[in-house]
Amino acid sequence: MAAKDVRRGENLQVMPELAGKYLTFVLGEEEYGIFILQVREIIGIMEITSVPHTPPYVKGVINLRGRVIPVIDLRLKFAMAAREYDDRTCIIVVEVQGREGTIMVGMLVDSVSEVVNVSGTEVEPPPVFGTKFGSSDNILGMAKINNEVKILLDTYKVIGEGVVEHFEKK
């Protein structure tokens, strides 16, 4: 599976295996990308029911056509300043393979930009910042397209079961 290959490639210097189509979105001044095949749909902001005893970045749950799915705020997840939601705010619904089947999660982002084609030569491994910036674990690589840098995220690690373990420790 392409998604899996993408994950394994983390530590290589050249990252041709990260080539493919990415959906890009904006958080503050930064632009991020996630692998397009993991995106299920994009919906506008809607009413979110908050769930108690969850970390602050878990905004709650929404009704996605009869399915209850959790929504996380990516700004809060990446420890960026919170921001009022407006009509450009979107929920990107992603689907990844978890230990117990597929997990569907909504990610709140400032706005969705476009779908870009990333070729392998444009991707560099994630920079190492040291611990004071937190870990760059959930970054697959940095894509340079038209002089812009897009941060390619590892969707699984961003929303994946690391979060579940976090809940359990609480």
């Binding site: 108690p52 005893h53 969850t54 959790p70 117990e100």
Partner: protein, 772 residues
């Protein structure tokens, strides 16, 4: 198979259940047990205080199990009994969270009883773990074996289908063969056994599962002889076919493991003994089983080359393709849908509900089944979701201010027609999840047969109401508790024939298994006419364990239900109520997970009856919607006693913090939902708010909310694996306006609110909690 990280106690509970399930010769369960022990050793290091002791105990246990698998120790029921005690001992230590020397001694004594000597069988304690793990990590041993595996892994989808079908086939074989014991000359039944073997042979050959193919083929030949009248269907044949069926099941289970977890789980099975056994029978000999069957770790695979006649068979197969197809379909149908005619079963007398006429004549009516198709459960859930959404959308359209302003009689009529259709659709979608309990019941026939043979008792199993439908998702979870209860009834309830005659009962005992619907519940009863519980002994034991006091006055019923308390029947002394040393609390826990209740009613000397009450479906609950600030929550109606607006003269505080209300002369602690859930409530003053008095396991609590919004049947939806186990929240549901509402989990809620409550109070409540 095992998901996520588990707590030690969970693993122990599971181990306790497994050890109950083990039948001598059933090595697949031993394998599962091994896996659990491994996990236990793995995580016990985190349990700081008792970790090292647990790890050591686990390793010894592990080594003993391996010896059983290797055939060095006997896999007899007694030995498993001792192993059960070992598990109880571990549970005890975990419960106390300290390892006392006497507990370890009991543990070691029990292991010694199995024939395993701690320390002497294994050089040096430290090596134990390593040795165990080393041989576990590659169960099949040699690399050559693993290299062979991908042979059949090429088409995973086909293989998955084969696995599922084979399990169904094996089940139908078992049911039919037990049937045969009562009417050995019924050709139709023989055919019903022959065909699944034929199908298994065909498909396994196609998938290159040589060992399974070989075994099924040999057995099929034997059955063919029986079918053609060359050999009589006697109990020898029945026994052999049953054990072949079991062996095939463990082989297929292993393939399933390989498919799910990877090739390193591949295990070699030595089928030669069975093949010889079957061939001897076919040639007219009598079966002499040399030793207990065991898996052979290192030996090279003994694949018997497909000879010429096998090749011919393959050709035949091609011609019979249609035939095979048909059989697959037929048995699938059988598995999915309950027959309309209530087929009669054997070892037992089965009454199909009200229809208590004579058994239907002849084989024709036996397997006449309604047509059905098999549907992926995910698609079904998808349908249910979509229909639920449809209903909501319809209300939203109807309530749209613009639409409701149109006072058009035609529109009103059309809307009511539409609602009728949607609610019909919803009902049908829900009904699709329901299956008859028949299949689960039928598995008990075999259990009772084996148990009674082993213990030398005569037991009749009577089944009533097997067509009662239960939620598909409940079927698997109810199986284990049911096995436990039946085992208790046969092992400890029903006496041996001589004893029965001495007290003037018929030598054959009866175990009655019945299911019916009552109110919003499915009731399953397990009743035996044995000796009943020894209430006085239960009382003594409860006092001994400090569960009740000498001067506590409890009714017999309350006393009997003490057996469901954790750690109760772990006692080694009460032989007539204790099972294999593992408590009935596992049954209670399993039933409660399904939001059900279990209780035992017993008449000394007359027998005992165990009643399990389960909700009709796991999917829907009746709830009251309450509002706290801007949030809405659903409280399960079943737990609600009343709702009131508190008045100052019934309100008290403890240390200015803990709040209680006096309700009908009982002090009921108040739980402020807004505090537990961290939301802002409209009313901070309890005299403006409303409290909903709920009861859970005998504990009363007053939940403080802002407003009651109404009563509604809601469809429970999981918040997803992502948000499982949030304290106080059982799940979510979609409310009338399309938003998500959270369903409260009272157990969790009480636990959260109590987290700072002194321990004494809690302990007391455990006991009173079981009075109801």
């Amino acid at each position: 198979m095992v998901k996520g990280v588990k707590k030690t106690s969970d693993i122990l509970d599971e181990m306790a259940l497994k050890v109950l399930m083990i039948e001598p010769g059933d090595l697949s369960v031993v394998g599962e047990l091994l896996e659990l022990v491994e996990q236990l050793v793995g995580i016990s290091s985190k349990e700081v205080e008792v970790g090292p002791v647990l790890a050591e105990m686990g390793s010894s246990f592990n080594a003993a199990l391996e010896k059983i698998i290797m055939g060095e120790l006997k896999d007899s029921a007694e030995n498993f009994g001792f192993l059960g005690r070992c598990i109880s001992q571990i549970q005890e230590i975990v419960r106390k969270n300290q390892a006392e020397a006497k507990d370890i001694k009991i543990f070691n004594d029990n292991l010694a009883a199995v024939g395993f000597r701690v320390g002497s069988d294994l050089p040096g304690g430290g090596d134990v773990a390593k040795e165990g793990e080393a041989s576990l990590s590659k169960p099949a041993g040699g690399k050559s074996a693993i290299a062979d595996v991908p042979d059949f892994l090429q088409d995973k989808e086909l293989l998955a289908g084969f696995i599922e079908e084979t399990f169904e086939h094996l089940e139908s074989i078992e049911v039919n063969i037990l049937d045969l014991e009562h009417s050995p000359d019924d050709e139709e039944i023989i055919n019903n056994i022959f065909r699944p073997f034929h199908t298994i042979k065909g498909v396994s050959g196609f998938l290159n599962l040589k060992l399974i193919n070989e075994l099924a083929h040999t057995t099929e030949n034997l059955l063919d002889d029986v079918r053609n009248g060359k050999r009589a269907m006697d109990s020898d044949v029945i026994d052999v076919v049953l054990s072949v069926g079991d062996f095939l099941r463990s082989m297929v289970q292993n393939i399933k493991d390989v498919l799910e977890k990877g090739a390193e789980y591949y295990q070699e099975f030595d089928i030669s003994e069975y093949v010889t056994l079957v061939r001897t029978l076919q040639e007219g000999g009598s079966p002499v089983r040399s030793t207990a069957v065991k898996t052979v770790p290192p030996a090279p695979q003994q694949v018997l080359p497909l000879g010429d006649d096998e090749a011919d068979d393959e050709v035949d197969e091609a011609n019979e393709d249609d035939f095979v197809e048909e059989q697959v379909l037929a048995s699938t149908v059988k598995a999915v849908v309950g027959p309309a005619d209530g087929s009669r079963l054997s070892t037992s007398k089965v009454f199909a509900g009200a229809d208590q006429s004579e058994a239907p004549a002849g084989p024709i009516s036996r397997n006449r089944l309604g047509a059905s198709i098999k549907v992926d459960i995910e698609k079904l859930d998808g349908l249910v979701n979509a229909v639920g959404e449809l209903v909501i959308m319809q209300t939203m359209v109807q309530q749209n201010p613009l639409v409701s302003k149109l006072a058009d009689p035609k529109l009103t009529k059309d809307f009511s027609q539409l609602s009728r259709i949607t609610s019909e659709l919803q009902k049908t979608a829900m009904a699709m999840r329901m299956v008859p309990i028949r299949q689960t019941f039928q598995k008990m026939i075999r259990l009772v047969r084996d148990l009674s043979k082993k213990s030398g008792k005569l037991v009749d199993l009577v089944m009533i109401g097997e067509e009662t439908e239960i939620d598909r998702n409940m079927v698997d979870s109810i199986y284990d508790p049911l096995v436990h209860m039946i085992r208790n009834s046969v092992d400890h309830g029903v006496q041996v024939p001589a004893e029965r005659e001495a007290v003037g009962k018929s030598p054959t005992g009866t175990v009655k298994l019945s299911a019916y619907q009552k109110g919003g519940y499915i009731v399953i009863e397990i009743e035996d006419d044995g000796q009943g519980l020894n209430t006085e002994k239960v009382r003594q034991k409860a006092i001994e364990r400090g569960l009740i006091k000498e001067d506590d006055h409890l009714t017999d019923k309350e006393l009997n239900n003490l057996v469901f308390l954790p750690g109760f029947s772990t006692a080694d002394k009460i032989t007539d109520v204790s099972g294999r040393g593992v408590g009935m609390d596992v049954v209670k826990k399993a039933v409660e997970k399904l939001r059900g209740k279990v209780e035992v009613i017993s008449q000394p000397g007359e027998g005992s009856q165990c009643v399990i009450r389960l909700p009709l479906t796991l999917a829907i609950i009746d709830g009251i919607i309450v509002r706290v600030g801007a949030e809405r929550y659903i409280i399960p109606t079943i737990a609600i006693q009343e709702s009131i607006r508190p008045t100052p003269n019934f309100y008290n505080t403890v240390h200015g913090k803990g709040e209680t209300l006096t309700i009908r002369n009982r002090l009921v602690p108040i739980i402020r939902l807004n505090e537990v859930f961290g939301v802002v409530a409209e009313y901070e003053d309890p005299f403006e708010a409303i409290v909903v008095v709920v009861e859970y396991e005998g504990r009363q609590r007053a939940l403080m909310v802002d407003e009651l919004l109404g009563k509604q049947e809601v469809v429970i939806k999981s918040l997803g694996g992502y948000m499982k186990d949030i304290k106080g929240v059982a799940g979510g549901t979609i409310l009338g306006d399309g938003r998500v509402g959270l369903i409260l989990d009272l157990a969790g809620l009480i636990a959260v609110s109590e987290s700072s409550v002194p321990v004494e109070e809690k302990e007391e409540e455990v006991i009173t909690g079981n009075k109801d």
